[in-house]
């Protein structure tokens, strides 16, 4: 696989990643959301693998494996189990209507690209344009967290943001040192479990995972 081909592939995957981020932003159904999240993980794994293969960085294979394990398999599975146990299948409600969100999202993408452009010039990696996409998907996930009203989509948004970050790490820098990646992965894993615990606690206390119930602590 030549440099250009792999860089085209990575770019393609990057575009895919961004597309999924948009899809998540507009998605109303929670199950689909989880599925999209898994797909995003898959794209991330693929791109990591490509970069690893092209550059011959061994630790990136580990990284890819970790991503696959964690973000494609384990976390979606946990989330599935959770919503099964908690019986939440209803449609996702948003605070702002979806077209408006999409418009803002597009604005964010443009902004991220503009921001990343001068930095991308500096990159000597094969995937220079991807930094902008990574940043855009981080921001889109952020936006998603803002507009969602339920706890579970918020968490998915957070995890998607983590995906964007991972993508930035692999595509822009050929991955962080392994020990860091492991640490980050551990944090994500523990975080997910704690989220899970929380869902139960919240559910127990409020009979719902709607975060509107959690607006009691405020200034008056």
């Amino acid at each position: 696989m030549g440099q250009s081909l792999s860089s085209q592939l990575v770019n393609l995957l990057a575009a895919f990643l961004l597309l999924i981020a948009f899809a998540m932003l507009s998605q109303r159904r929670i199950l689909t959301l989880i599925r999209l999240f898994a797909w995003q993980g898959a794209a991330l794994t693929a791109s990591t693998l490509i970069v690893a293969y092209t550059t011959g960085q061994v630790h990136l294979y580990f990284s890819a494996a970790l991503t696959l394990l964690l973000k494609v398999l384990l976390i979606p599975w946990v989330l599935h189990r959770l919503i099964d146990r908690l019986q939440i299948r209803w449609d996702v409600e948003t605070l702002i209507n979806i077209p408006a969100t999409m418009l803002i999202g597009i604005g964010l993408v443009i902004f991220a690209f503009a921001l990343a452009a001068p930095i991308s010039e500096l990159a000597n990696t094969l995937t220079r344009a991807t930094l902008g996409i990574a940043m855009a998907s981080v921001l889109l996930s952020f936006l998603m967290m803002i507009v969602r009203r339920k706890a579970v989509p918020q968490v998915i948004g957070f995890l998607a943001m983590e995906n964007g970050l991972f993508f930035a790490a692999t595509s822009a820098t050929y991955g962080m040192p392994l020990v860091v990646e492991l640490g980050v992965a551990l944090d994500v894993l523990v975080g997910t479990f704690i989220f899970g615990i929380f869902f139960f606690h919240i559910r127990e206390q409020f009979d719902s995972l709607d975060i509107r119930h959690m607006e009691k602590l405020k200034q008056d």
Binding site: L95, F111, A114, L115, L139, F142, L143, M145, I146, V147, R148, R149, Q154, I211, M214, E215, K216, L217, K218, Q219, D220
Partner: protein, 674 residues
């Protein structure tokens, strides 16, 4: 002994001794043994020693010292110059009287309270000494705020009363705001060089704009502590709230540290005084003077009344100080020196007589449990000695010759009469007007103390026996208390009768500050005659005055008794022949102020309840509110409240909104970076 021989180290040892007494007072022992038996007498001795060191320092060259404490770049600097020496003397002498009084006054406190009082009391004294000794901004601020803090805890000794709590709060708040202004003032003075020793501040040449800013900040900051309007609000609340010896310390000494600070900063550190500053000081001083006395006349709580008089006297000090600044600003340092001397002399005088009056009020409170004048009466029969000392204080504060209050007011008048040497026509004609406010205030003070003395000590007891401890229980002050009062009363006489020696001291202070003192003619006159400028222009001899008046009075007495008989019959009061003369027909404190309320009506915010014609139980009640609350304090409080209510809208509890804040912050910063 080498260490003690230097006034600076001596003063420092005194301060350390006070701290040590404070620490020992806390030592757990049966019934606070140390605090009860030794703390206050030892504190008195320390005070006397400090008086001696202060007096000594007035005549010596400035002395400096650095302690290995404080900030790494700014260790504690100490300096004792004549100005500091003068104030140390004030602190030592007045506190000696108050401490010995306190030794008796606090005798019957419970152990816990006594230990705390002794701790805070002596820390308070030590911090005041350090304020005066400080020679860098950091030590000054530390001592200054420690002073505020220790006195705050003293004020809130009886914290179970809500009024005392709110008084304490207000006190510490305004003190702290003042301290913030002072800190900012030091910052302005340092002019960005970052050296905060007073030596460096003294050396700094400020642009006029910045010098004016520094002056305003200092004036605000110290004025808040001194209790000038409109920052006085805490004073009439806090001073009465404290136990009486503490009130005496606060009114007598603590307010004076503010005057000290003002003089130190404006004359010594900023330098190059401008006459416009003087006009500001004069305007505020005149307002403070009149406000203080007019509100004092409205009070029926004795300690509150005295507190308002402290406001007034601060105004008088400011008048002298302001005139001094005007003269110095216009380039008449000799006249300026006279004003400064007048202000400083009044500072000492007020310290002495106000402490005396507060102690007297404390004795009344102890004996009768009363602070309300409307319930007092006839105490001169039960506590004749206290009555005598209080009379001395009352005459002194009313600026009556030959006591001390008169001398300093006289000097202030003399300063005002220097006005013709000024070139500026407006200022020249304004100065005597400021003197007129002083005259008015003096006369009103006399009225007020006729009221106080006449109602508290003279006449017949007003309160029903149930309100007071039964008549037998009312006793004169104890030995220690009387000793303290006698010391201060003697001070009133000494300061009133021998002003010339103090004039020389103050001249030295003035020379050390402004390099200019009184004219030669003034200094050459002998101890008998107080001559501020030259004998032909003005002179006053309290000794001759006293001797003549005593001789004449005695002569009259002897002549009358020699040539006529001394027969006396006693009977019921005549009272124009009216038969129904009960104690309730006497004037009350409120009634006494009635003409003033009538004349100065618009000044007061009155809440009056008049009995109707057919009231079965007619009651008259009157509440006077301070207008400053309504145009200054409450609006500021409301503004703060409003701003914070708007800021609180940021926090609505919605996590999405919070995330949005983070998001927007991020975006905004990213745009900013681009």
């Amino acid at each position: 002994m080498q260490a003690v021989s230097s006034p600076l180290s001596g003063s420092l040892i005194v301060a350390a001794a006070w701290v040590a007494i404070a620490a020992l007072s806390l030592a757990p022992s049966g019934n606070a043994f140390f605090a009860r038996k030794f703390a206050f007498p030892l504190g008195t001795l320390a005070g006397l020693a400090l008086t001696a060191f202060g007096l000594q320092a007035i005549w010596l060259a400035p002395e400096q010292m650095t302690l290995p404490l404080g900030l790494p770049d700014l260790p504690f600097h100490l300096r004792l110059d004549p100005l500091a020496g003068y104030f140390l003397m004030l602190l030592g002498a007045v506190s000696a009287g108050v401490s010995i009084y306190a030794a008796g006054y606090f005798r019957d406190e419970t152990a816990g309270r006594l230990a705390l009082i002794a701790l805070e009391y002596h820390l308070f004294l030590a911090s005041m000494a350090l304020v005066i000794l400080a020679d860098d901004a950091y030590l000054f601020m530390v001592a200054w705020e420690t002073m505020a803090l220790s006195s705050y805890f003293l004020v809130t000794t009886d914290h179970k009363l809500p009024a005392i709590r709110s008084a304490g709060f207000l006190y510490l708040l305004i003190a702290h705001l003042g301290a913030i202004a002072i800190l900012l003032c030091f910052g302005v003075m340092s002019g960005g060089r970052g050296d905060y020793t007073f030596d460096a501040l003294r050396a700094a040449e400020l642009q006029p704009r910045w010098a004016t800013a520094a002056f305003l900040l200092a004036f605000f900051g110290f004025g808040a502590k001194a209790g000038m309007i409109p920052l006085h609000a805490w004073l009439p609340e806090a001073h009465p709230a404290a136990p009486s010896p503490v009130s005496a310390l606060m009114s007598g000494i603590m307010l004076k540290t503010a005057i000290y600070g003002m003089i130190r900063v404006i004359y010594d550190l900023i330098g190059n005084v401008r006459w416009e500053w003087g006009m500001v000081v004069l305007a505020i001083g005149a307002g403070t003077t009149l406000f203080g006395v007019l509100y004092a006349l409205m009070q029926h709580d004795l300690k509150r009344l005295l507190a308002y008089h402290s406001v007034e006297n601060i105004g008088i000090i400011l008048l002298g100080f302001g005139m001094s600044m005007v003269f110095v600003g216009f380039g008449h340092p000799a006249a300026g020196a006279l004003g400064l001397i007048a202000a400083l002399y009044h500072t000492l005088n007020h310290a002495v007589f106000k402490a005396l009056l507060f102690l007297g009020a404390g004795s009344i409170l102890h004996a009768t449990g009363l602070r309300n004048l409307n319930s007092m009466g006839g105490l001169i029969h039960k506590m004749p000695q206290t009555a005598f000392y209080f009379l001395v204080g009352a005459l002194a504060i009313s600026a009556l010759p030959p006591l001390n209050g008169f001398v300093s007011e006289w000097l202030t008048f003399q300063t005002a009469l220097q006005a013709p040497i000024l070139k500026n026509g407006v200022v020249r004609s304004l100065l005597p007007l400021f003197a007129a406010t002083l005259a008015l205030a003096g006369a009103l003070t006399a009225m007020c103390f006729v009221k106080v003395y006449g109602i508290a000590f003279l006449g017949r007891p007003r309160a029903a026996p149930t309100q007071v401890q039964t008549a037998q229980e009312i006793h004169d002050a104890g030995l220690m208390e009387r000793f303290g009062m006698a010391w201060l009363a003697a001070g009133c006489f000494v300061l009133g009768l021998f002003p010339t020696s103090f004039l020389l001291m103050l001249n030295r202070v003035s020379v050390s500050l402004t390099r200019q003192g009184l004219p030669e003619a003034a200094l050459e006159s002998n101890w008998l005659w107080l001559v501020p400028i030259e004998p032909a222009r003005a002179s006053y001899s309290p000794i001759v005055f006293l001797i003549v008046i005593v001789c004449v009075t005695l002569l009259t007495f002897i002549l009358v008794h020699r040539y006529y008989h001394g027969r006396v019959r006693f009977s019921e009061p005549w009272g124009c022949g009216y038969s129904e003369q009960t104690a309730r027909t006497q004037d009350t404190a409120d009634a006494f102020g009635q003409p003033i309320r009538h004349i100065f009506g618009p000044l007061y915010l009155m809440q009056r309840h008049m009995p109707a014609a057919d009231d079965a139980a007619p009651r008259f009640s009157l509440k006077i509110h301070d207008r400053h609350w309504y145009w200054l304090y409450l609006p500021i409080a409301r503004l703060t409240e409003y701003v914070s209510s708007k800021i609180a809208l940021l926090q609505q509890g919605k996590i999405s909104i919070y995330l949005l804040y983070s998001f927007l912050t991020l975006i905004a910063l990213l745009i900013f970076v681009r």
